[in-house]
Amino acid sequence: MTALLEAHAVGYAYRTGQPVLHDVSFAINAGESLGLVGESGAGKTTLLKLLLGLAVPSTGEIFSQGARFDARNRAQLRSYRRLTQAVFQDPYSSLDPRQSVEQIIAEPLRSLGIARGRVELKGLVAAALLAVGLPPNAATRYPHEFSGGQRQRIAIARAIVPNPRVLLADEPVSALDVTTRVKIIDLLADLSSGGTPERPPMTLVLVSHDLGVVASLCQNIVVLESGRIAEQGPTHSVLSAPQHAYTQRLLASVTRLPGA
């Protein structure tokens, strides 16, 4: 089975020569959510940019459904964007304050030429709102009228409206309250497992420093340390029997709730 998304010996360095990523290889298969874990400076953000086509690897290659993906190729980038969408960390910065919710959610539809006509566009926006648990009247309102958790739902609606196969989420719940966090995690779990004929399940790629969040959502895990992969494999085995010293340190440093 061809992997949905694959990184092959990917490396990235700034123009000044400072290396950020080195020899990163992993594969994401359809239906198998992946977590990219690491602390600050591990290179998660850079890897995310590469996977979003916002930057080009210095070395190595990225494959999308078996075909080599070059972000500099406009046509390739366009079709890549139909397959891969993103949700970002800061719900207060990721929504344009001067646009209505409907305009925000409809942007990928407009830019990627998906909807034919206003009626279809409105319908797709309404369906996306429903899928993320927001009321239909949210469409005419503005971001400042919503809480952090609700804004993140709007951002998720925008990401899923073009029916992407891969949803890349960069610290999607870090800026949220604990009680809200769990709700958004449940939503993401829902969207990546359940599915309807109109909206097939997406494969989730989650970038986070929070092991608990990654463990809740991802079947496989890649642990990054200083730009290199320390360890990767099924989440269950990596967390229960970590091989690499860094992974062990990471696990040991998580503050646990006393008593189960």
Binding site: A86, S94, P97, Q99
Partner: protein, 271 residues
Amino acid sequence: MTGRSRSLTAGGILTGFIALVALVSLVYLPYEPTDTTGGRLAGPDLAHWAGTDKLGRDLLTQLMIGARIALIAGGGSVLVGAVLGIGIGLLAAFATRWLDDTLSAVLDILIAFPTLLLAMLVIAAQGASLSSAVLAIGLGMSAIVARLTRILAKRVLTQDYITAARTSGTSWMSIVARHVLPNIWPTILVNLALQFGLAVLAEASLSYLGLGAPPPNASWGRILQEAQGTVYTAPIGAILPGLLLVVLVIGVNLAADGLRDVGDPTRRNQR
């Protein structure tokens, strides 16, 4: 949707009044501008509602023409300054480090240059006229607008919604039109209103110095200059143009504030 704004209403009324006077002046003037038949420095009476100036010209006629000139000077300069300024500002915001640094340095030099001095240079080259005044003032203004645009655009570009727009497949041109400009125009609008007032005053200063539109074109500035010598005996000659200047500048600033508020989606339905 339209929202209520007292600023907008008040500003609209004040500016509208001046604009009305200017419009009326296009079709009707009480006297010919060159008509010097009134007595010299006559006070206001039925024949001359605002009196006459030291050459016997009807003051009301002069003021009405002055309204036209003030609006052209202010509006024209703002147009030049905005188009040039926003264009260069956006360029600098998207430019490479080197180009940005160079542009910023050039803009700083322009800003440091006194507007009037700049205007005199342009006028020395082009000859004194309303259009060269507008060009000169607009040029000086564009540097400030460019600096402002650059910093506002740069700030917007760091926001995640720009990255989200890119991953949504939106082209850079669309991003500028749909995300950057709408988020920076309120602040720029208020600044342009401020510049409008300064432009009108600058033109008045130029006319006062004799560098603006030559007679018989009557700018409020020139009327002020001519009334200077007789301000104790016939103060109305100085008070009226000054008053009209104040009305216009305040009106435009209030209107711009109001316009900015009305267009701001975050002011309605506060959570």
